[in-house]
Each structure stands twice: as structure tokens, then as C-alpha cells.
Amino acid sequence: MAVCVAVIGKDNSPLYIGGIGNDTSTDNELSRQWLVHTALDALEERLTTTNNNTSGSNSNTTRTDMRDLYLGLLYSTDTHKIYGYVTNTRIKLVLVTSSTSPSGSNIRDAEVRTALRRLHALYADAICNPFHLPGDQITSQKFDKQVKNLMLNNV
């Protein structure tokens, strides 16, 4: 069960952080923010190693999985697991699952991947809203609703 998802912009400013408040330990905004931001260093690290690998040795050692947008499990704590996804446009999508709840502890990688891909599709739709300016926080209620749906149904 996903506890929280976040969309983080090019300059590491949060564009959207949403969660479902059924888990009492993460029921407040502060802990969500903290959880999501712990993952940023791990994300940056993955991205820089990707770039060094490709530019340093002339793409001979380029592994195909390094070019995948889905970065997999970034970070895990006693209670949470944090998964990351970075788009070509440097938008970072973060998904946090709870490892204490029974459905979250044995979640499969493929499920997280599809959830993040669907989140990316939702984000692309939200960006195409003409009232949304690039770099602004996403305030669309439709987006919020769709993301909450995604969290309840998919993962």
C-alpha cells in the first residue's frame, strides 16, 4: 500500500506531495515531506553515476537499465520503502510504501513500476492544463483525485 507520492521539480522544489491518511504514523504533512526528501540525495547519486558511466567510457558500458526512467528502490527505513522515477525532463517522482502494513511489505517491483508510470502519465496531463505555469505547484483537484485513486487501487 502506497503511503504517499510526490512530484519534485527540476530544482528539487516539491510540486505535489499527497498521501492517504490511513496510516497514523505518517498522517501529517511534515513526516511526508521528510520521507520524500530523504530520497533526493539517493536520486541525485543514481543520476550522476548514470552520466559518468555513459560519458566516461563512450557508451560501451552503457547498461540499458541505467537508461530506464524507473530507478527502483532508493532507500528503505524500518517502516518505509522509497521508490524513485526520474523523467527525461528531470521531474522526480517518488513513491513511499509502508513496510509495516501487510500489503506493503511484500509489494512487487513491477507493481511499483506500473504505478509510477501511471503517475507520470497523470503528471503529463496535469502539465498540459493551460492554467498551469511550469515550475508552479500542482493545485489541480482533478490531479489530486486521480493520484489518490491510483494509490488506493493500484498499489
Binding site: K10, T50, T62, R67, L69, T87, T89, H120, I127
Partner: protein
């Protein structure tokens, strides 16, 4: 195809409208197409998020430019860029031998003075697309004889 012609007509009306606006604001002969360029920028910025959704991460700048020449151009103009040149120092020249907005006019030099109007939107489109991929650039266009057009991309490095 009907959907292509809609885009073309809307595009030419946007240009007419922008020219009309500038005529009201100042009666100099110079036409101000920065509005059209900005509309292109916003559209390019937004479309890029969708286009690169199913795409693996780009290796480097040249990889990104190849994407612009093939898929991006294919999506908007239903054809690929005919020629891509670069000096490997941040200058790229994209040549389109039959640029869609210019193919409807007579070939050669008859309407050459009006050609800049019809490339401003596309300059913005390229600039916006690249801006969303974290490449800041200045895009200019050059039309020497009518249906062919060259876009110069100068990447701004910090």
C-alpha cells in the same frame, strides 16, 4: 488530412493577430513576433513531457538533438529533419528542405520577406522543448529560398 490543415490555419491566424496587435501599439514598420515565439515556447514545453514519456533517458545533448530531428519533428510536421549539423561546441543547424508552413507559398523569392513570420512559432517550439529537457538555448531561423529553412540552435552553457 483535416487535422493538419486546422493546425496550419490556426498558426497563420495567430501570426495575423500578433501582427495586427503590434500595428496598433506602434506604427513602426518592424513587426514584433515575440508573442508568437512565446506561444511556441509554451507549446513545446508542454508537448515534450508527453513525447518523452515512453523514451529511455537521453545519453547526452546530441542524443537529445537527434530526438528533436526525428520524433519531435515527426510528431509536429509529419516528416523528419533532412539534415543535422553540429560543431560539437553547442551549435546545431537543423535543415528542413520542405518546411510545412512554407510549402504552400510559391517557391523561390516571391514572398521571401514574409518568411520570418512563419518560422517564429517553430523557433519557440524548439526552444521550449529543449528548455524542458534542461537545455537552455537561443533558436534562430534562416530562409534562403522558399520551402527550405534552417534552424540554428545555440546552446547556452553556464
Amino acid at each position: 488530412m483535416a487535422d493538419d490543415i486546422l493546425f496550419e490555419l490556426l498558426h497563420s491566424e495567430i501570426i495575423n493577430y500578433a501582427l495586427e496587435q503590434t500595428k496598433e501599439n506602434n506604427d513602426k514598420k518592424e513587426s514584433d513576433l515575440s508573442v508568437v515565439e512565446y506561444i511556441g515556447f509554451a507549446a513545446g514545453y508542454k508537448i515534450m513531457e508527453r513525447l518523452t514519456r515512453e523514451w529511455p533517458r537521453f545519453k547526452d545533448e546530441l542524443d537529445t538533438m537527434k530526438f528533436i530531428c526525428t520524433d519531435f519533428w515527426m510528431c509536429i510536421y509529419k516528416k523528419q529533419i533532412d539534415n543535422l549539423r553540429t560543431n560539437h561546441q553547442g551549435v546545431y543547424v537543423l535543415q528542413d528542405n520542405a518546411f510545412r508552413f512554407l510549402t504552400n507559398f510559391s517557391n523561390g523569392h516571391q514572398y521571401l520577406e514574409y518568411a520570418p513570420r512563419y518560422v517564429a512559432y517553430t523557433c519557440g517550439l524548439i526552444r521550449g522543448g529543449l528548455a524542458n529537457l534542461c537545455i537552455n538555448s537561443v533558436v534562430t531561423a534562416e530562409v534562403q529560398s522558399m520551402p527550405s529553412c534552417k534552424f540554428h540552435i545555440h546552446v547556452q552553457r553556464t
